[in-house]
Symmetry: C2
Subunit: 318 residues, 2 copies
């Protein structure tokens, strides 16, 4: 973080034509962003939305309301501009790219064996790392992958503890039987890989997915580039949690775009010590909640960077 | 409301490429807006932000952290593009207009006599009515007026009951003494005009302000034009409350953009039966919280009106 830019932004904020603190969290957001971007007046007009897609061996265990072929079908939908994330990216001026990670080769069923080999994990992390545009002024990482809330729940349970039941949710809309199958799969995965779960990257390899690893790679790259990341829902935050557990402070450049309706997301955000900007009951993934929050960040930046000071406007102080 | 447009929008929503309900409140928002706009695919690309400014006799009682001349100074700031609401209007593509209501003639001090004459009330309501662009697809009403949180608190206390202390807040940032002076002024106003307070329009006349009445006029006009209104903070909602008490259902075309940090706003929204879209600690007025929420409405409309259906995209259902 550029502390001099942050200090300059805080000083500027105190001179803008509004009562002190009257823009609430927008003020904190703009100052925080100034620090990461290294400029007194941050920008938010060139956000990048990067979507990763992967398939999951565990989907064969009946953990999703949708069949696995939907992953590839939705990738086609992203490419043709028909998904929610396409509309939200356009609405907030974000450049959107889609990366399908070897959809014909799902991860292994993690209840039986590690989801990925070391080579597959490295490849996915690298795909994420390389997907980030260093010129972007904000990053949203989204995902698509039938079965991936089960994988994310397993990662979170491994890293934060608690029962499988604490972290599985309805995902795309499973019924009670589906929810029980999710919990059973998570429970089995934790047992199968128990010996390896003290290492966050092994957790990601054994229980994660190609697209989840790619999100982790992208979030790490954003840190290296000092690009602020708007986190999305449960799956995105599971990827982020791996980084946080691997290195303290690894998510200092991240803010929580929203809290989703997926059961464990609020508790996961609390564990990440992140306060969500939005709480609108979304549970779609694709980066949709984070993309929606881009509008809030853009509003914060517009105010901070565009407003007149008391002196410029000839307005009397309090 | 156009129920056939609303029904068509709900049917369309069920066919879009996402799990049912996965866009949470965005789905309800788009369907609701479809009903008001009378089209299956609502629009949100031509919002209007209209700002009214007025001065308050009660300001002489030390109820604000800022001197009364700030009202006119901020109007100049609006006209020169330097205020928060200018930046937010620009960020979300809203056309912004500013109406200064006779700033050289503040309302009478409502602790002593009615704030406005019948003629003044009518003039302010008419100004608001005429300020609305019938071509707008969404409306935000904002305000500026040193002393107007005291006036709004008096209106709300008169219409919802409770003690003066329940409804006064820090406004632009008064200290404990200022807060006590606000409560005393509200208490005195309620006593002075006790005989007239069963009539919502008399409440507005006796305790309100030019800009508050103008907001009420604009919100009423929007209803006549079937333009959905995004409500702002405590003062805007006090104006809206007058309409609701005058005629049940008068706010059916309104949604709550945000809940502000002003003490009574959350309870006022509950009395209006409105769930806020945002909760970000704003307490600026000017329509700023509502303007920020325009981004959420635009995101909802973009998804609803732009997404592909399962059939169009060739995606398998659940």
């Amino acid at each position: 973080v550029d502390t001099s830019a942050r200090t300059a932004a805080a000083a500027r904020n105190g001179q803008l034509t509004k009562p002190p603190g009257a823009l609430g969290r927008l003020e904190d957001l703009a100052i925080w962003l100034a620090g990461w971007q290294g400029r007194e007046k941050p920008k938010a007009d060139a956000p990048q939305v990067v979507i990763f897609a992967g398939n999951h061996g565990v989907a064969a265990r009946g953990v999703s309301a949708f069949p696995p072929e939907v992953t590839a079908q939705m990738v086609a939908n992203f490419r043709h501009g028909g998904a929610a994330i396409n509309q939200l990216s356009k609405a907030f001026g974000a450049a959107m790219t889609v990366h399908a990670l070897d959809l014909d080769h799902p991860t292994a069923d993690f209840t039986q064996s590690p989801a990925m080999t070391e080579a597959e994990l490295t490849k996915a992390l690298t795909t994420g790392w390389n997907a980030v545009d260093p010129q972007a002024d904000l990053l949203v990482t989204g995902e698509m992958g039938i079965g991936n809330t089960t994988s994310a729940a397993a990662i979170v349970a491994a890293l934060l503890g608690g029962a499988a039941e604490d972290w599985v949710g309805r995902g795309t809309g499973v019924d009670d039987h589906g929810l029980a199958r999710k919990a059973a799969a998570v429970h089995a995965g934790l047992a199968t890989h128990a010996a390896l779960l003290s290492d966050p990257l092994q957790v990601l390899r054994c229980l994660g997915g190609h697209e989840i690893a790619a999100m982790a790679g992208a979030i790490a790259r954003a840190r290296a580039e000092r690009i602020a990341v708007v986190l999305d829902g449960f799956i995105c935050c599971a990827a982020a949690l791996v980084l946080q557990r691997a290195r303290s402070g690894a998510l200092d450049h991240c803010l929580a775009g929203h809290v989703s309706a997926e059961a464990g997301h609020g508790r996961l955000l609390a564990a990440l010590d992140k306060q969500p900007l939005l709480n609108l009951g979304l549970r779609l993934g694709e980066g949709s909640g984070a993309a929606l929050a881009l509008g809030i960040v853009q509003g914060a930046v517009a105010c901070h960077s565009g407003m007149a000071t008391f002196a410029e406007a000839g307005v009397s102080g309090a």
